[in-house]
């Protein structure tokens, strides 16, 4: 049932990403939350969706560029997250898993666009209005099917990949409660290699992503100053709240 629900959600998100509406419920932040709610853990979905959002933030659908399908990554990560411990390593692993699917989804877009090009009618047909109507609707239908199929594959692979990582005997493992699965109790555990590796990988990617967005917003001393002011404010807000 979950797989069916997530497949339909995947089809809707695929359409929203480009073909229909573009209300941006397909952004990882929202897609992850929606998928998380579908599997009974919206907070985990929000956590992995927010993390993926930071990774793909500079990727925008400009022109014909091939971009990672963030919605698919968030959906995959949200499907995997409840099967993993609610820790930095667990959430990070789900995000890495989702990132793979986001990149796979991006590879499928050129195929869809090639089909769209073939579907569209050429000038000179007797009823081009009917042909255009039909071809555009078929293109939308194909995008929905693409999204639904990819979502189903991602969810099925989440179960297969995480079954070894999940706590033996059940969903996830013990986790220290905190914000977005990041525990708030310092010093209660030893640094594990897996935690460090996951954190390093994601920190590097998120940092480069943030730097790219910063560069695009203007390479000025003022931008750099505001960035540092914001960083101080954000950190203080976390410590104070």
């Amino acid at each position: 049932m979950e797989i069916l629900l997530l497949s339909v959600l995947g089809g809707i998100l695929a359409l929203d990403a480009t073909g229909l509406g573009q209300t941006m419920i397909s952004r990882p932040l929202v897609a992850g939350t929606l998928a998380g709610a579908a599997v009974g853990d919206p907070l985990a979905g929000l956590a992995v969706g927010a993390a993926l959002e930071l990774l793909v933030l500079p990727e925008v659908p400009v022109g014909g560029g091939r971009v990672p399908e963030g919605w698919l990554g968030a959906l995959a990560a949200a499907a995997a997250a409840p099967l993993l411990p609610a820790t930095v390593a667990g959430r990070g692993t789900a995000v890495l898993f989702g990132l793979v699917w986001a990149l796979v989804g991006g590879l499928s877009l050129p195929l869809l666009r090639r089909w769209n090009s073939r579907l569209l009618p050429d000038p000179g047909q007797p009823r081009p209005d009917l042909a255009l109507d039909r071809s555009h609707r078929v293109a939308l239908g194909l995008d929905f099917l693409r999204g639904a199929s990819l979502a189903a594959l991602a969810v099925l692979s989440a179960g297969a990949v995480t079954v070894g990582g999940a706590g033996v005997g059940g969903r996830g493992g013990p986790g220290v409660p905190g914000v977005l699965g990041i525990p708030g109790e310092p010093g209660s555990g030893a640094l594990t290699l897996s935690t460090l590796v996951v954190a390093l990988l994601l920190a590097a990617s998120a940092g480069v992503s943030a730097g790219a967005v910063l560069a695009r917003s203007g390479r000025t001393p003022r931008a750099g100053f505001l960035f540092l002011v914001g960083a101080g404010g954000g950190a203080m807000a976390v410590f104070l709240l």
């Binding site: 990070g92 692993t93 695009r216 203007g218």
Partner: protein, 250 residues
């Protein structure tokens, strides 16, 4: 503001414009979607004259590209021109002239401005402990307010002004608005980075190393941007999947 000229089929054209990118492809880009959206207006305009309808649809099967939200401005204007019987060559030249400004303005205002800004607000809210509903709405509501205003304003302006819509576009000063939005990006981006770093530092069993590496990576991304990000994401994903399959994660 005067009411737009009543063009039969305009309402359905606007609704169809929400799917304007449905058949996006490298050859005609938004062209198929533009023609698809315009069909209700064309069918009403050329009702009873199948040959004229055929010619009208044919001239809207070609290449067109613009930001999807601002394409509604071109749709409204072309719809008005077709309804008034403008010469085909005039319509063709008008569409070609609008392509670049509607693309560039939309990219700067929306993709490089409003979208990342509102997304970062949502992510920041999540990092500060907001509920999933609150964090997502903090992004979706302001973003879609701008989104819908652009679509509706553009379409109405096009219907009202026809080929003179470039005046409306100029008066809207979208370029200046884009700059005003983007000025806030560094501040909010920094707040997200600081909050994320703080979360990691007070977390259980996370060392300083990721935070330091993240800071250095911001510098690298600032210098080299997206060309660095793509291979890095690929490498990160590959490393992650290898580690997962080897049982090293989580």
């Amino acid at each position: 503001m005067s009411r737009p000229t009543k063009v039969p089929g305009a309402g359905r054209t606007f609704l169809r414009s929400l799917a304007i990118q449905g058949s996006w492809n490298e050859r005609t880009m938004l062209g198929g979607g533009f023609g698809f959206s315009l069909l209700p207006i064309l069918r009403r305009r050329f009702a009873g004259d199948p040959e004229a309808l055929r010619e009208a649809v044919d001239r809207h099967l070609g290449h067109f590209n613009a930001h999807p939200y601002l394409a509604s401005l071109a749709l409204g204007a072309v719809g008005r021109m077709e309804a008034e019987g403008a010469a085909p060559e005039d319509v063709r030249r008008f569409k070609k002239a609008l392509r670049s400004p509607l693309g560039a303005l939309g990219d700067r205002l929306v993709w490089a401005g409003v979208l990342p800004l509102t997304l970062l607000l949502g992510v920041l809210a999540a990092l500060l402990g907001a509920s999933p509903l609150a964090a997502t709405l903090l992004f979706l509501v302001p973003y879609n307010a701008v989104h819908l205003v652009l679509r509706i304003w553009g379409f109405r302006a096009g219907l009202r002004s026809g080929r003179e819509v470039v005046v409306d576009l100029r008066n809207a000063r979208l370029g200046e608005r884009a700059e005003r939005v983007r000025r806030w990006l560094p501040l909010v981006l920094g707040a997200v980075g600081g909050a994320a770093a703080a979360r990691l530092l007070i977390a259980d069993a996370v060392s300083w190393a990721p935070v330091v590496l993240g800071g250095l990576a911001v510098g690298a991304g600032y210098l080299w941007g997206r060309p660095l990000l793509r291979p890095l994401l690929g490498g990160t994903a590959l490393a992650g999947i290898v580690l997962i399959l080897l049982g090293a994660l989580p």
